[in-house]
């Protein structure tokens, strides 16, 4: 029996996805990554242990969200 040199196509392979080059991702990751982290900081930590804006308004406004999202609040 002639053994085929080509391996039998066992199952339908998932089409390969060409990875997006790091060069294409980097500018987006840098700019938006930082922006998103700043947003998270304001939701999660501002006017708690550290404060950029003085007063208690930011803390009080997102108070319930902070507790329920698991951030240390007070």
């Amino acid at each position: 029996m002639a053994q085929s040199a080509v391996p039998a196509p066992s199952s339908q392979p998932v089409p390969e996805i060409t990875p997006i080059s790091l060069k294409a991702i980097a500018p987006w990751a840098l700019f938006f990554g930082v922006l998103m982290l700043i947003l998270l900081y304001f939701v999660g930590a501002e006017q708690g242990a550290t404060a950029v804006v003085s007063g208690e308004n930011v803390h009080e406004w997102v108070h319930d969200g902070r507790h329920l999202l698991g951030f240390p609040c007070h």
Binding site: V14, P19, L69, P72
Partner: protein
């Protein structure tokens, strides 16, 4: 082979994050708020010095304030997760866009939330000593960063081991390595027990479960929403109806 636009993925990630945030908001409002209110009622009946001006009313805190927090959280983490998916696509394994999105979401739920939560769980109002807030905040974020970095390291380790051990064993080995490193962190980082005497144990348990439910809802639905959008973006089905004017792949 068309190149996948990072911008298109990012926009979809933020939209999926917003939608997931809306579902998480419903869970937070229905399951979480009654516990927050009960904890505040306990706090007020037990505090010696209170009163003082209420800057934001409870009604605003539990509705618009809660919505602001949860939705921004959803959009921001949705955007970050989309960037992670953009990098992971075609790199982590032979997963399609939908599977990649769901795997990244589950990874995020565990590494961003569950692992830090097991050491420093969410606390309702009345629990927690304000004088240790600085320390608790630092340790909480340290735990999040540690957990995320260790997860990334575990994925890289798994990828390296896969050719030698096979995918299954490599995944098990990487998971064990993660636990072996996170274990000592749990053991040696300081713990806090600041639950006031007499604070209802059931209330604390229910509050923490609802906080967990909020995150499970957020990441579970984000994975599904974003997976759907990413799949449509990257692997467009051959149009069934010829009338559909092909909205040409992806412009950069």
């Amino acid at each position: 082979m068309n190149s996948i636009s990072v911008r298109a993925l990012l926009v979809r990630g933020m939209l999926a994050g917003l939608a997931a945030g809306l579902l998480a908001l419903v869970v937070a409002y229905l399951l979480g708020e009654p516990r927050v209110d009960a904890a505040i009622a306990y706090e007020e009946s037990h505090s010696h010095e209170h009163g003082g001006v209420e800057l934001v009313s409870r009604t605003m805190q539990s509705t618009a304030g809660l919505a602001t927090g949860v939705l921004i959280y959803g959009v921001a983490l949705g955007g970050i997760a989309a960037l992670v998916v953009a990098y992971a696509l075609g790199r982590v394994g032979r997963f399609g866009p939908r599977a990649t999105a769901v795997l990244v979401s589950l990874g995020a739920l565990v590494s961003v939330y569950v692992v830090p939560f097991l050491k420093y769980p969410a606390n309702p109002p009345a629990v927690g000593d304000p004088s240790t807030l600085d320390q608790r905040t630092t340790l909480y974020f340290l735990m999040v960063v540690l957990s995320v970095l260790l997860t990334v390291a575990a994925v890289i380790l798994g990828k390296r081991l896969a050719p030698r051990l096979g995918n299954w064993n490599a995944t098990v080995a990487a998971s064990v390595a993660f636990l072996v490193v996170i274990g000592p962190a749990y053991a040696f980082l300081p713990s806090f027990n600041e639950v006031p005497h007499g604070f209802p144990a059931t209330l604390l348990w229910q509050f923490r479960l609802s906080a967990l439910a909020v995150q499970a809802t957020l990441w579970g639905s984000f994975g599904l929403f974003f997976g759907y959008l990413a799949e449509r973006l990257i692997a467009p089905r051959p149009a069934v109806a010829p009338s559909a004017p092909a909205k040409a792949g992806v412009a950069h």
